[in-house]
Symmetry: C2
Subunit: 451 residues, 2 copies
Amino acid sequence: MKLKLKTVPGSIVAAQGFQAAGVFCDIKRLGTGKGSNKGKKRDLTLITSSTPASVAGMFTTNQICAAPVKVCAARVRKGIARAIVVNSGNANACTGPQGLADAREMTARAAALLRVPANTVFVGSTGRIGVTMPMDNVRAGIDAVLPLLGSTPVHADQAAEAILTSDTKPKQIALEFRLGGKTVRIGGICKGAGMIQPGMSATGARPAASSQGLHATMLCFITTDARIEPSALQQALQEAVAHSFNRITVDGDMSTNDTVLVLANGLAGNSQLKATEFRSGRTRVGDAAVFQAALSQVCLSLAQMIVRDGEGVTRFVTVRVEGAKTWADADAATRAVANSSLVKTSWHGGDPNWGRIIDALGYSAAKVVESKVDIGYSAPGSRKVLWSLKRGKPTEASFRDLCAAAAAREFDLHILLNLGTHSALMYAADLTEEYVDFNKGDVSDPTSLGG
Amino acid sequence: MKLKLKTVPGSIVAAQGFQAAGVFCDIKRLGTGKGSNKGKKRDLTLITSSTPASVAGMFTTNQICAAPVKVCAARVRKGIARAIVVNSGNANACTGPQGLADAREMTARAAALLRVPANTVFVGSTGRIGVTMPMDNVRAGIDAVLPLLGSTPVHADQAAEAILTSDTKPKQIALEFRLGGKTVRIGGICKGAGMIQPGMSATGARPAASSQGLHATMLCFITTDARIEPSALQQALQEAVAHSFNRITVDGDMSTNDTVLVLANGLAGNSQLKATEFRSGRTRVGDAAVFQAALSQVCLSLAQMIVRDGEGVTRFVTVRVEGAKTWADADAATRAVANSSLVKTSWHGGDPNWGRIIDALGYSAAKVVESKVDIGYSAPGSRKVLWSLKRGKPTEASFRDLCAAAAAREFDLHILLNLGTHSALMYAADLTEEYVDFNKGDVSDPTSLGG
């Protein structure tokens, strides 16, 4: 399908009817007078819709899941949202009944100020694990952010900044497209950096068969003025996340807080997209296909930004496994390679070490036959592959050429198992000294704890 | 059981009837005149028994398995061994039919010189993956090592050195004990360093249910003058490996070459230990219990040496999970924690970050309930635990005390899931800048490839 998806400014407030703002309310309790501005990065975001919006969400399948995830997973079932309040600096995870009460209070306070029902307000948190929320600061933040709401790109920038933790830069995008004669916009913001290998489901419950390999806190908030039923939006989001956020890994660790929320307020005035058009497994056609493509593109762009800005990351590698016997095999093979410490350190060094790759394939849960495996390199998205291994044997490719291919900042790693027809991919990163240095923590600072 | 296991010198040649030696034959083809002695580390070992010995073996369950593993897994079934030839510098993995022919030729050459049947000679390799063996050098090495065989500690030292790759020091041990009125000795050598999370089975075939989490090349060779049937020796080895080499991880990567071989030549003259005394699941009693304890102690000591000398390793952490619902849960929980990049970097920093630990538990395949989890620290082997988390809530333990506990070079991490009666442990290591730096490789040197 050829689609016109135009990039527009404003990310989370690009669509009609949405407003946002971000403030600093010192959730990490840095106190005042600590000097540098860096410590005063905004840390609380509010996003609102002028009218009730359809809402859909995907949440971490980690059994240890944060209070805001629990609140959102329950509320998303009702399908209606008016606002999202998000803080960084504290994950509100492993905080027990108090944490749940605090998450609810955050939504209730925003709801009261906005004069909307509390259960239409959603909440997200990221930061330290196991520390009770500094509610005085949070309340002050919510009160302070409300009068600042607006819908200019500057407002979007503030919102995008306030959700960041160890990210080095904000991540945002918005697209404009035509849907049934109407102009529709969709945009989003996200954050990631470390503890990144999301495995999200609609309810936060893990699918029985797939607990393995499902492993940042990543938070993503998307808004659109498309008109779409909540259940249709949920189906569209599941499809989009399956090919984006659930296919990324920085360090293989799945967070307690991973959350994607989409709000669709219908102000574009298109004829409503229905659940029947988005059934699981069904190919989307017509307007449903257009909307799906736009949502999927937003999710994919944001997901890739997370990998590129992962902690200490210097390489962006798309691991493509084809020819697996089953989809589960393709999935297991990509994750084994994408999360192998030895493979990731070799990427960091620009070392075309196929021995470590085939080793990881061999210990994965996927069926692999040494004499059938092909391994090669290409530029991102290209099918012009320089093969290092064919049918289990080193090719004639020169070591110099292979080194050049593996030295690229971004490349595709092609793995053909030649055992079947199933394929999968992962967007992955190298493992660097900087990652270790950053994460070994500074024990002189107890605020360094957490996820 | 109170046992007298006396440590004695000589490791692999401590038991009667065994000889060994190690030589440099330039398997990495460093050439001559390259200067430093460092490059001339011995790289070929021969170990012999003066009489036919019972043999047992455990081999990597990686589907990509090296030629020497295939040769040994087939020969071990016959139960008789006279010698083992081992090289470092080349793994003879992913080398196709030529690799298999080379592995067999190594055994045949040694057999001819020793005047024993070829199928009673075993072979091990570790080093680069995917490069055909430099057979001229190997042949010269085998010819050169034979006249050097002897049974002094110096011979053992040579043998222990020649099997090393990135290890910083040789690993060896020998024990002496009494068995039915006779004095018996058992000793071994091993190597490890990187690509270390062995999951070995008797045949190299993976158990259907446990492909997950099975992940150095580690090589271990053990000799004893005990008299024991081959099938009894195999059962004893499986029991020993299950609690030692299969419970260690440096970087979570399972190698193509992991091998443990034990030779028992019977020269101690004890009454023969029978298979019936070592049945799977059966508690060993009497002489069987004594032999099992000695073999288990040798395996555990050598396995722990591998972790302590892992690439870049600065901490040795015993991860103990108790109270799991099933054994598979206990296993999955220990491996998730022991292999989490974020947990391992926090160990490196001496950071008592329980948030990362509970996060890893939560995404593991194990059943975990946040409000039941206890996490704490103790000195190695001590039950005096400083708890950081009790029933999912931070304790009153001071951050300073927790930091002191986590700053130890060696400590036990206690995790109580409080859901059942099953337990498991892993011997694990931190993740350091040195590990990354070492493994990112030097692409100016193609010999840096491999496992």
